[in-house]
Symmetry: C2
Subunit: 257 residues, 2 copies
DNA sequence: TTCGTCAGTGACGTATCGTCACATATTAAA
DNA sequence: TTTAATATGTGACGATACGTCACTGACGAA
């Protein structure tokens, strides 16, 4: 006798999303440090027991939010990957899509950072942990694709003793470092007076690509203007939303004339 | 009538350090996610009220640990700064002192990362927050010094549209990104199979310096061998301790022959 | 109609937090 | 030496939040 299946997969997924969204709203309102399961339960048309069916604990919920957030990001990455233009430009574009994401969804970005802490991972379900690992691979896929195209069209050759994965990681960790240290959402890195995240990300990325010998080198082109118009074309809605929040990507302070 | 001063500054500081050390031991044993004030109080010859005199809460204690930890790091940085050798080599050395620190004091390193989260900062005392900001400046000082020497001896010129502070930040965020993503202490960055933190840090740093046009360029020297012997000379105790823990900096996998 | 299974509930036991009223120790003045 | 004033230390306690579990009700199979 097969046990009756009363709840379909889709409804479960939908409910999970509802809980996640409620939690995100609470984080936006009260800050991530004041998120409690009781508050989440109060926001949601389910009882505590039901919520705990989906997430084994607060940290597990946080990780699930982080995963959801990475899905959003991977969409941005993929759009950058698919854009026209040379590989190097698209890699820069991808890094900026990361920045756009951090500016547009600060609560989500915060969750991803927090979810990396052992505090969270240590208390989460295997399901969400492995889901998160899958998503990281998915993120890397777009990066990987761009690097491969750069290798194929000979604009990039592998530096001595480095393979594709290492190149991918270099780009990822560079963008990660700059954005997480400078994104205003994380109170870090004093002495950041006069540091502007979009400018530093731009400079760091280009220094890295120049160091790799990835053509066209900065001295041979004007990556800033190109980046600006690509962003306008590829992420018009996102940029508008950022503007609506009172922030704005500012390229005037460092455009090459 | 002047109020009697029963406790001198030094005794207070000493007690604070005792509490911090006890907490670090607990973190090493149980993981940072299981640290509770009750356990700390139980480990310490003071009562809860006294502990709360020093730290307004658990998060404040965590931030204080982070600050202590940054003091340890700034000593390593300073030693790298003072070493002989060209500026670029010492910058690389400094990045590796960061790695040594992350490997040698994983619990401390973890605390610094965790303390950056708004979860912690949002609940901490102004005193410890500003203390932390001072320490970040102190860390930057060593980096800043090396960059300035590079500028002075003309091995480095400022890239287009970048100032000293931006150069410093580039190096910091590069090292930060690579080490925090790859240090085994933080469960991050899947797909890191085959990524070796010391190798990636080495490559990333050199790509960055090459991108800046910082002499000597990689092709002109053997920075790997040079780095190795410098580390042996400057951090013999630390390297020995790392070895005693079963880990080891491995340069064989990527030395240029 | 009856029984078995499973989704859903929310009161409850436990853990941890941070406070506060009180106790003790130390110094200054009487 | 005694007394008053203040600094310092204590741990019991109320509040908050966590996660569980015994129970309810709904649905399908027999």
């Amino acid at each position: 006798m097969t046990p009756p299946k009363l709840l379909d997969e889709a409804a479960l997924k939908e409910r999970e999303l509802l809980i996640i969204n409620s939690a995100v709203l609470l984080i936006q309102k009260n800050g991530i440090e004041n998120l409690t399961m009781d508050k989440v339960v109060a926001q949601v048309p389910f009882s505590k027991g039901t919520v705990y069916k989906h997430f084994i604990g607060k940290e597990d919920l946080l990780l699930a939010i982080s995963n959801y957030s990475m899905e959003v990001l991977s969409d941005l990455f993929f759009r950058a990957y698919q854009f026209r233009g040379c590989a190097r430009s698209r890699m820069l574009l991808l890094n900026f899509s990361y920045l756009i994401y951090a500016m547009l969804y600060p609560a989500l970005f915060q969750c991803v950072l927090c979810a990396k802490s052992p505090n969270v991972v240590g208390k989460s379900s295997e399901k969400h942990i492995s889901e998160g690992e899958m998503l990281e691979v998915k993120l890397m896929t777009s990066i990987h694709g761009i690097v491969e195209e750069g290798l194929n069209d000979n604009s990039l050759s592998l530096p001595l003793n480095m393979d594709i994965q290492q190149i991918c990681f270099s780009n990822w960790s560079t963008a990660y470092g700059a954005i997480s240290l400078l994104s205003g959402e994380v109170d870090q890195c004093s002495g950041r007076t006069s540091l502007i995240v979009e400018r530093e990300l731009f400079n760091l990325s280009n220094l890295l690509y120049d160091g790799m010998g990835w053509n066209p080198l900065t001295k041979d082109s004007n990556p800033c203007l190109e980046l600006k118009s690509a962003l306008d074309e590829l992420f018009p809605e996102e940029l508008a939303k950022i503007k609506a929040k009172g922030r704005e990507l500012n390229f005037d302070s460092f455009s090459f004339s």
